[in-house]
Symmetry: C2
Subunit: 140 residues, 2 copies
């Protein structure tokens, strides 16, 4: 599957590859299109996020929580202390406030989700350490 | 296009036809699948809403605002005092707090959107009068 094929299947705009200043928090290439901005009355920024195969974000926490709505491809979500959950289009993930977690693509698939940051007035994401290759490579 | 065709294209579950208690606020058949519930820490209930052709909701307001993410079909959004906006898959609508509006399908098309109710701790939807046939039938 090519990146263009996936964008077509995933409905919302793919956007630009994320700037280098944020790319230290991802293990590979990521595209982001902000559908609803931060710092407005909604307190609910929404982004369409596209991961290339094998790409995942670092462990991180959201002070106000986060919801993922999966629109294409295959990927994973993992909360600290729990097994990884496999994700495909139509799946929904509820990530409670301040819970340490990561998400990203499977090794052999592109992955697209909407990221809904809830209660964003409570603060911004806190980025932590990368997911090790040892941990990631155990996932099938 | 059949309803099943549209559900397939729209990614998230179609859910059940809405109960009669709510159907007085819609001009036709509507299906709802709640993806994220009310009354939890997220303050951000998310529903997947499917309108049959010609169906729209009554005028209404949300105390905390609402965001629509269109995933399939063709429809309309209208704010009081402004022209109707035509909507298709990939479009996003930001509805400010307490702004009177309606949304629904085009006369000849099914219509599917995610409804994201923002700041839901500020209160529930306030339902108002139906959209008149005279107003609706002016839309093409």
């Amino acid at each position: 599957m090519t990146s263009n094929d996936l964008s077509d299947s995933a409905i919302f705009p793919k956007g630009m590859e994320i700037p280098e200043i944020f790319s230290e928090y991802f293990s590979g290439k990521v595209w982001l299109s902000m559908l609803v901005d931060r710092d407005n009355e909604f307190n609910c920024p929404i982004g369409n996020v596209t991961f290339e195969p094998g790409c995942r974000n670092n462990w991180h926490k959201h002070p106000g929580g986060q919801i993922l709505l999966i629109t294409g491809g295959r990927g994973y979500y993992r909360e600290e202390g729990k097994p990884a959950r496999e994700l495909k289009a139509g799946d929904v993930v509820e990530i409670p406030k301040n819970v340490k977690h990561w998400h990203g693509a499977a090794a052999d698939s592109w992955f697209v989700h909407l990221s809904v940051e809830t209660n964003s007035q409570l603060g911004s994401v806190e980025w932590l350490e990368p997911v090790s290759d040892e941990e990631y490579n155990k996932l099938k």
